[in-house]
Symmetry: C2
Subunit: 168 residues, 2 copies
Amino acid sequence: MLIGELARQTGCEVETIRYYEREGLLSAPQRSSSGYRRYTAEQLGELNFILHCRSLGMSLADIRNLAAFKADHDHDCEDINLLIDQQIAKVHQQVEALRLLEQQLLALRDKCHESHAAADCGILQTLVEAAEGAPCVCHTPFGQDNHGHSQDYDHTAKKNGRSNKDRP
Amino acid sequence: MLIGELARQTGCEVETIRYYEREGLLSAPQRSSSGYRRYTAEQLGELNFILHCRSLGMSLADIRNLAAFKADHDHDCEDINLLIDQQIAKVHQQVEALRLLEQQLLALRDKCHESHAAADCGILQTLVEAAEGAPCVCHTPFGQDNHGHSQDYDHTAKKNGRSNKDRP
DNA sequence: CTTGACCCTGTAGTGACTACAGGGTGTGCA
DNA sequence: TGCACACCCTGTAGTCACTACAGGGTCAAG
């Protein structure tokens, strides 16, 4: 089948499918004489595997590793277990951080019940006073020793800059 | 104070401070004759405001809006409340999605208790069979009608491609 | 004068996509 | 046969919030 049909069957964007191929995640299909990609049922399964793992929040690198483990029948599955364990731990940490964040936001939200001018808004006042060093409801009630700016919300994927990849 | 001192006092990276200035989030400071940035205490407060909001998971765009509301004393705080409400709803959704994901991963993890060769690994078998259309423990026990690939894990910030920004 | 810490601008990269430019292919209809 | 439209292709660039680096300048202490 053509890439559009594969996209329809899997719910995955055409451009994402090409991206996965470029990233070496999905095997390159045969081409027609006009250069169109022609996918087999096996490759449909391949993509479904990838999408399934994506739906479980795994990174592309992890999925690549899993696929390698799958291809190597003699590989001990200890590594697979470890990979899933690490993913579970990561997600668990995210759940905890987000639940804390939710509580913090609700506490902040509670500072303003009615419509005011911005100058009188409890939310804004809290944020401004916190910026000036005052304690705030979004952070104080949880017994933290510091304001915890850098620990409160662990952004999902802290982006690093350049690697040495393809370095001249 | 110089940018390095500001970074030390706030726990924010020098490069991130410059980035916030470039993005128009933080006001540009005065410069010394050598071109070094010189920050005031007021700008320290400005940055703390930004960091505080970041710690609450707000996007830079939202923080920009909040700062604009703050500067406009006559602005009704209804928009501020709405912004915080939207943030609460977003975080809540993320919590729910991640909790579901955690359960899914635990169910999958439960398919393999001992060390096997990869060919016999319950986790891998589950993933492979799911890719072939079979029901799986990570998705089935929650009564979902479909495999839910595109809804299971809502990635934090789905990146869109090009906007028309700076379009010639 | 040298050294090391710090400063600057501009550019490029991270991860997982997503959009677009510019061009080619295939099919159905007038 | 020509046209219109849907689809295909490659290559490039952008999203978001950073993060890293190249190449060069400044400052202070030894």
